[in-house]
Amino acid sequence: MKKYSLVLFFCLIFLSAHLSAQNVTVNNNLTFGTVFPGIPKTISKTTAGLAAEFYVSGTAGNEVTIDFALPTYMNLGASNMQLIFRETDCAIDTSATPDQSSPEFNNLDPWHTLTYRIGSNGLYIWLGGIIVPGLTQTEGSYSSNIVITVTYTGN
């Protein structure tokens, strides 16, 4: 009985250390605000409060892959508006003092898998983009989903 309890104890310790291996949350949505027909608008990944911000929590040192499922349009009913993510529109900071205005890893491609290790203060991801409204773009509020998947690699 003693032996089993000891093994069980270490199993639980091991599991508890890994149960929170990573968790991703949305701190801020990508917000274009007011947009005028015919005038493209860019939100930089380094613009706090407007760029999308995701936070990955977990055990420091764990390696994770980050994959985005990015939309190419924003929608309002049947109306579409082109949404562009360039290959430099993403940034990541895993440092102890994350800085969106000067991120540790800048100009990353959100269309490809990103692999980084969670830092002592987690891992911050920022994403910017461009929308291109048409000259006769229907008035109203447009939106689309940005799906982020974070996977623990085991490394």
């Binding site: 917000t31 605000g33 924003m74 689309s144 989903n145 998947t149």
Partner: protein, 185 residues
């Protein structure tokens, strides 16, 4: 072969299985949904509400229409998102012509022939607020739609025709083209 199923062993196996399953399901992957949002404003339009009309003109006698002439000044209505910044450009003719094109008449625009009213006022004779008596060939920067939160800005245009002494009788016309665009301000 006999397998002993004593309580501690069963408990251990159950906990181990639950632990491993939980570990796999929790630590393997996490997905989150962010959103991109934008609020598109009203599309910009410009409509020629009233033509610039010189009416009856006599050979050799120039005629002027002031930009505050309610009955004859050209009126353009620009509609868009209130308080939004716009840029405007007016392409003005140098002459007006008969429909057949067999004669032309000079038309001139002075540097004070345009008034831009950013209130809801649509009457050239009762100018509200904006830019009065400016150059239609050089529309000022900083235009906005509706300084008083209305969605209209009006252009009032005057001009002058100069018929020659041997001008052919008949109706003359020419195009005045107003181009407007949001400037994102």
């Amino acid at each position: 072969m006999k397998i002993s199923l004593d309580k501690p062993r069963v408990l251990f196996v159950i906990v181990l299985i639950i632990g491993l399953v939980t570990y796999q399901s929790i630590s393997a992957q996490d997905v989150s949904n962010g959103t991109a949002t934008a609020n598109v404003q009203t599309a910009l339009t410009v409509v020629a509400t009233q033509d610039l009309q010189f009416g009856t003109v006599f050979q050799g006698v120039a005629k002027t229409v002031a930009n505050d002439d309610a009955a004859s000044a050209g009126i353009f209505t620009i509609t868009g998102s209130p308080a939004a910044g716009i840029s405007a450009y007016i392409t003005l003719p140098q002459y007006i012509a008969t429909a057949s094109g067999d004669d032309r008449m000079n038309i001139a625009f002075q540097t004070s022939d345009l008034s831009i009213d950013t209130t809801s006022n649509a009457d050239p004779s009762t100018f509200g607020d904006g830019w009065a008596d400016v150059d239609p060939n050089n529309v000022p920067n900083g235009l906005v739609i509706g300084s008083d939160a209305t969605s209209h800005t009006m252009l009032f245009l005057g001009g002058r025709v100069i018929p020659s002494v041997d001008q052919l009788a008949g109706a003359y016309s020419g195009n005045i083209i107003v181009t407007v665009a949001y400037n994102g301000m």
